[in-house]
Subunit: 240 residues, 2 copies
């Protein structure tokens, strides 16, 4: 029994509510393993929300899907919380704040060991970023200096969540997302999966399947980016 | 004779060529001090350009404005190059790559000393970012891990270049720029000047004047952001 991850580009899709667009995927992902209760890690603190505020939102939403949810800050011992979790959900927010806190409480080794042994892992946005090799393809502002940019490496590639195509009509001259990822490859080697809003990736042991509605654009160093459609197998991502 | 900086949001404005929209400001800024030759620092490497490629573009443009320009990599000794420069121009690109290289060649202390003593400094985009206290309000992807996020502190506040207003019609759910800067203030105190594309800031000793065409949005911790128009004095930025 190997890794089992659901990596979601974004928690809220335009025109729908929190986790609505990925509700059916989350339900079948958790029900498949008979999960009843999820451990929530609120460290990414979107809009500076407190852990309890953020956990309240996630708890209400997961209860509506039929699951219990507990914030890691509600447990006395973070290590024990991870060690005993049926499944983990790391929510979005600021990737730098999230990674810094994961190092601060020193739970990355335990999460890695649990995921290796099959504990279901759900990550949205920043929570998908930290499942990758590094956070170097986040879109977030570096508002906290983490001890390094290495992420948890639950998968052997990088995620760029909220991937957005270049708008040919834009008058804004800041770099496009594609330009940023190409610049990343001037200095780094890891493959980058640009997950559009509405897209998600299910990684089960050595199989990866693209889910959701919008597809992904995959960037490999020294090659032209390639488009993938929902339902396609991306197993090749896991072979190195 | 104190500091004298021209901090420019963006080097290319939509619909015009490289440095066209700030040409008259650059010319009067440099001619005011009888500058003939500018030292260019190409470390931000936009699109992964080499130092020489990037310097070639800047050199051609500055020559058309009537100035000589030399890349710092063309000099045997970087320290001496800064020590003897009439003026410095740090171009845009990736702020993390730029800051990491500035630390790598260890020229920040010399730049600070020269700027304190009146050497004109021009920075566009990432080159404006590194003039601030930290690079924590850059928009760039963190493709290199620098030794810290502290920038040169030539001014006692932070810059957010390419500032962009929220688009009420956007269907993209990634954080708006304003949300990102508000999140910055959950964890940090520095005032942030959001310089729209087309805007620039002239800091002369203890006076700061907003130039260009598009204005700035200024974010102070715990306060609502405030709008400033071209021509307005922003001296208050320099009082703490």
């Amino acid at each position: 029994m190997g890794r089992n991850l659901l990596l979601i580009s974004n928690s809220t899709l335009h025109g729908s509510g929190y986790l609505d667009h990925c509700e059916s995927e989350i339900k079948s992902f958790l029900n498949d393993k008979d999960v009843e209760s999820v451990l929530f890690i609120p460290y990414a603190r979107p809009s500076g929300k407190t852990y309890d505020e953020y956990t309240g939102i996630a708890k209400e939403r997961f209860q509506r899907m039929g699951f219990d949810l507990v914030g890691i800050q509600e447990r006395v011992d973070s290590d024990d919380a991870v060690r005993n979790a049926e499944a983990i959900f790391i929510g979005g927010g600021n990737t730098f704040v999230l990674l810094d806190s994961l190092y601060g409480v020193d739970i990355i080794p335990i999460i890695k060991a649990r995921v290796r042994n099959g504990m279901p892992y759900i990550g949205t946005s920043a929570g998908a970023n930290v499942a990758g090799r590094t956070i170097m393809t986040t879109n977030d502002m570096p508002i906290i200096y983490p001890p390094c940019f290495d992420a948890m490496g639950l998968i052997p590639f990088n995620i760029n969540p909220h991937y957005i195509d270049s708008d040919p009509n834009s008058k804004h001259m800041g770099e496009t997302r594609e330009t940023r990822i190409r610049e990343y490859h001037v200095f780094n080697d890891n493959t980058v999966v640009g997950l559009r809003e509405g897209a998600m990736l299910h990684v089960k042991n050595n199989e990866a399947t693209l889910k959701g509605s919008t597809g992904a654009r995959i960037f490999r160093k020294g090659k032209e980016p390639t488009e993938y459609r929902p339902g396609e197998s991306l197993d090749f991502l896991l072979t190195n």
